[in-house]
């Protein structure tokens, strides 16, 4: 049978954002694949060099549309490392709560994501509606549902509003109650098993060789989590487990998500318990209002996002604007090198599953 070239994307229901794969197929099997990024290149790194340190806060959450808070956290943490500023304790705990809430919201979204390419739309309706409850809380906290601009260099913008903690506890109870239903409906579903088992398999050696982190790596049996191995914020003061699986396939990656949500809930509960009262932000550097000058230096800050290592390299030359900011998107290795070298052998109808469960996020690759 002859070889044929087919285009996947740049618009597809199984994708977060616009990303294209040129597939060379024989029959219904992909024999070669070429990633084509760039549809969402908006020049963030250049734009950041032209804006004040604080102005960038309005820009950076947009780099990763589905999980914006990690951008704010990395940017703020890198600046604090350069300026050698200690953030107030309460702000650190609040940041942890925000990041874990964002993880829950994003994992919920992922159930919807897997519903698209497998045709299980009910999971999409459920998870989007439950994620919305998390967004309601975010709206109350920051005034915005998606792009919160809440974590700022030096702390967080404001303390919790009144009665926020009670609402948060209520939400955690609700989500915890929903998880068994998700597991029964999504993870024990015959159709989903048939579609996901043995698809997009990756082994530990390949993950470590090409730099896949996060759930992709943990689904192969390695408990590597940056929150444990290089703890930031106060992750070393709370107890949580790192769920792993051994199969390394799409099903293993999806089934880790509810387990991670459970751990996030555990972390938030501990954070609420340990959190002291006190100030929630501090001055980063001398300067007039928001026109701060960050001292000269370079620092890399990374967090464990839902897709793996997400980091910012920030360079300052002591001026009012960053000299250079480089973003390490978590899905860079699997989204580019992985598509080219690991995707061949997949069937055409499994390609969206491959991209979705590998966590390929176009906006963070393009930046």
């Amino acid at each position: 049978m002859g070889e044929m070239k087919l285009f996947f994307g740049p618009n597809h229901p199984g994708l977060h954002g616009n990303f294209s794969v040129h597939m060379y197929v024989e029959g219904d099997t992909v024999i070669r694949a070429r990633p084509v990024p760039g549809f969402l290149h908006r020049g963030f790194e250049k734009l950041m060099e032209r804006r004040l340190w604080y102005q960038n806060l309005a820009l950076i959450p947009r780099i990763c549309v589905q999980e914006p808070d990690i951008n704010e956290a990395c940017y703020a943490m890198a600046i604090e490392k350069i300026a050698k500023v200690d953030v107030p304790e309460r702000a650190q705990w609040i940041r942890m709560i925000v990041l874990e809430l964002a993880r829950i919201a994003n994992h919920m979204w992922a159930f919807g994501g897997v519903g698209g390419p497998t045709g299980m739309y009910t999971s999409m309706y459920w998870s989007v509606s439950d994620r919305d409850k998390v967004l309601d809380l975010f709206e109350e906290l920051s005034g915005a549902r998606i792009y919160h601009m809440y974590i700022i260099p030096g702390g967080v913008r404001k303390d919790f509003p009144p009665h926020f903690e009670e609402k948060l506890v209520k939400l955690l109870d609700y989500i915890e109650g929903r998880l068994p239903e998700y597991e029964t409906f999504v993870l024990k579903n015959r159709i989903l098993h048939t579609r996901l088992r043995g698809i997009a398999t990756i082994d530990t050696e390949t993950c470590l060789k090409i730099g896949v982190t996060g759930i992709g790596l943990r689904a192969t049996g390695v408990p590597y989590d940056i929150r444990k191995i290089a703890p930031y914020l106060f992750y070393d003061r709370v107890e949580f487990d790192v769920p792993t699986a051994t199969e390394g396939d799409a099903l293993a990656r999806i089934s880790l998500k509810p387990q991670e949500i459970r751990q996030s809930i555990r972390i938030i509960r501990q954070a609420l318990e340990y959190m002291p009262s006190g100030p929630v932000n501090t001055k980063i550097a001398d300067g007039n209002g928001l026109r701060i000058r960050v001292p000269k230096g370079m620092a890399y800050a990374k967090v464990e996002s839902t897709r793996g290592e997400y980091g910012y390299l920030v360079v300052s030359d002591g001026e009012e604007k960053p000299y250079r900011v480089a973003v390490r998107g978590a899905s860079y290795p699997q989204g580019l090198y992985g598509v080219e070298h690991l995707m061949p052998g997949t069937r055409i109808d499994d390609v969206p599953i491959w991209l979705d469960t590998m966590g390929v996020c176009a906006p963070e690759i393009d930046r």
């Binding site: 760039g38 370079m298 290592e309 390299l313 000299y323």
Partner: protein, 195 residues
Amino acid sequence: MMNSMNDASVSQELQKVFEELKSMFGSCEAVHIDARQYKLIVPSDKTLGMLTYLKSIGYSHLSIITCVDWIDEKKFELVYILFNWSNGATFLVSTFIDRDRPVFYTVKDMWPTAEYYERDVHEFFGVEFEGNENCKKPLMLELWDDLPPLRKDFDPLQYSKEHFPDRTYEKDPIHEARIIRGDIEGDIEGGEIDG
């Protein structure tokens, strides 16, 4: 469950590795960023050797390769970020190359994904990586016809003005809309708008 090493012991280990590197490779400078992160400033001819050594002792995860344009010093600074999964320590290996002749060597044989990081750096800074045959293929920017855009001498505003000039309208579309709506009286004969 794995337990993370505490900051003090990681810091000690980083210092130990730095001393080793200094005795093996000679000139090498370290900047202490925090307890878990050191920046190493390495001469360009020693960089590959040092990266190979660091990979062999556990700093095997390459987070990213990126570049900084120090236009006043006429240098590009290449930064390789290496992470050690067993102790949670990070090295930023930085080397300076000539801005007028930006050529370096590829590390894609050590880290396959480096092929894409190098393509990225080539596209946005114009640095060539010898040995990476795909280095010059466009990645994000299709049909780019100007200076590599992350160089400091590239002016995005000017580029945008040249490539996307302001539109001029011979007629005022708001005025015409108000006539159509009947807010004001007037004539819109031949009402095509030049865009």
